[in-house]
Symmetry: C2
Subunit: 259 residues, 2 copies
DNA sequence: TCGCTTATTTCGTAAAGCGAAACGCGGCCC
DNA sequence: GGGCCGCGTTTCGCTTTACGAAATAAGCGA
């Protein structure tokens, strides 16, 4: 049987996952004994796993029929993953093209808990000081990524991002709500956001939102380069980023994330 | 914390599911410490869960970056569930209409392991002897459901269902390959399958396949009634079933199941 | 090269997962 | 209508084995 050859395998978890896989792959809701017979595990054990997984919301326990099926929590997770997975895999090629074309660092990020979370990063030159790492979080107000996404959010949602005062990351960082609103407004008008040394000294960023089927900014791509080098290619970069974003949008599944 | 109020909750499983939910809801692949900090669990514990879930295929462990993300097994399960969930929920209303219109038992089934698996059943009159139960399996050759699905399978797949001899369920059950092929061929021509007392004495069934976006028979609906009562309404029933099947197909997501 | 951070391994302890068996309940059949 | 059977739930005692602190190793940036 699925005896964990892995010495770090936690048996209850491994066995519960067998139950999970069985239930999820059936077209109908299952009974306790059905799982027991299918997997050859003791009744008590399966019973406990079914209870635990139901309590976690991954399964739904139909009390009337005493049957277990896949739960809403599972479907939420699956949908979230499907979207992000699709985002990353379709973005992949575009990021490569961008980094190849400009030889500057390219970032892919999403908005989570009102922060910018880096999802993929391509550094053109590793000699350069770290900008960010995958999974790291930066503020919305100091990044072109954040402002680009904010620019295409419904206005009620933007208001949620407005603070009386913002953290000053560099001497150029905007710190008041008024300026933030102006930057966001400008990004919306131009179709891309810009940030010049507001997040990190000497580094300029151009960010463009990636919209999902409903026009909601699910993510953003940005190009970041030293101030001087960026100056010469702002227009070209903005256009390339917008093209990339459009293509990524087109390849995304038509479903949306519940905000 | 998420202390299992449920006395039957298995803690390792419950905690592993927290890890699961966290990883699946992130847009980026995560590191061990990231999970530890987010969930406030001991490092060793999380490490073991990540290992276990990766071994189960639900997570993918990127050895190079030492990051964990959602694995292919999870996506397979999610897709299977999405299809079946959609099938059942869109079929729901149609089944109700059918049972209301004919006052006879209506079945929804899928094909699994070359058998007919009942997924939903609406009995018009409970006095009647049980026909089948959800999750029960009947042979392909003796049911209208099975023959309806077989009729729209690619011919190579139909061959997999052909046996030199079939189990004789009633004295009317077809038992040879030749007759099976003939029935399937006829069902394909007519667009619905029929079975008269071949699965259960005195009961006649009409089955119609439900095709997915690619024209593959993902399931089937059937109406079953005592021979005499069915005789009077064959044409009307076949048409109603076909209409229902068409509507269910239309509401299905455009993705397919890998056969 | 050093020093930090992060992943892996070890190990002793006690918690808690396990599963046989008993119980209770409902439905089916006689 | 009564009894039987199948199924889900509960109990209980026994270790098994999950646990987590701490030590170790491996990376990686400075």
């Amino acid at each position: 049987m699925a005896k964990g050859s892995d010495p770090y395998s936690v048996l209850p978890v491994a066995k519960a996952m067998q139950v999970f896989a069985y239930v999820a792959s059936q077209a109908h809701d299952v009974t306790l004994t059905e799982v027991v017979q299918a997997l050859g595990m003791p009744k008590t054990t399966v019973f406990r796993y079914l209870q635990t997984l139901s309590a976690a919301g991954l399964f739904a326990h139909d009390i009337v029929q005493d049957r277990y099926g896949v739960g809403e929590k599972f479907r939420e997770l699956a949908q979230t993953d499907a979207i992000y997975h699709s985002l990353r895999s379709t973005a992949q090629g575009e990021l490569d093209v961008l980094v190849g074309g400009f030889r500057e660092t390219v970032n892919l990020a999403v908005l989570a808990d009102d922060e910018v979370v880096y999802v993929d990063i391509r550094e053109a030159t590793r000699s350069q000081r770290f900008q960010a790492r995958i999974g790291h979080r930066h503020p919305v107000h100091s990044t072109s990524l954040g402002k680009a996404m904010a620019a295409f959010l419904p206005s009620e949602t933007v208001e949620r991002l407005v603070r009386p005062e913002y953290e000053q990351r560099t001497y150029r960082t905007l710190t008041d709500a008024r300026t933030f609103r102006r930057h966001v407004e400008e990004a919306r008008r131009r179709g891309f956001a810009m940030e010049t040394g507001e997040n990190e000294d000497g580094v300029t960023c151009i960010g463009v939102p990636i919209l999902d089927g409903k026009g909601y900014p699910i993510a953003a791509v940005s190009l970041s380069a030293p101030d001087n080098r960026m100056k010469a290619m702002v227009d070209r970069a903005a256009e390339a980023l917008q093209d990339a974003a459009r293509r990524i949008t087109a390849a995304l599944p038509p479903i949306s994330l519940n905000v």
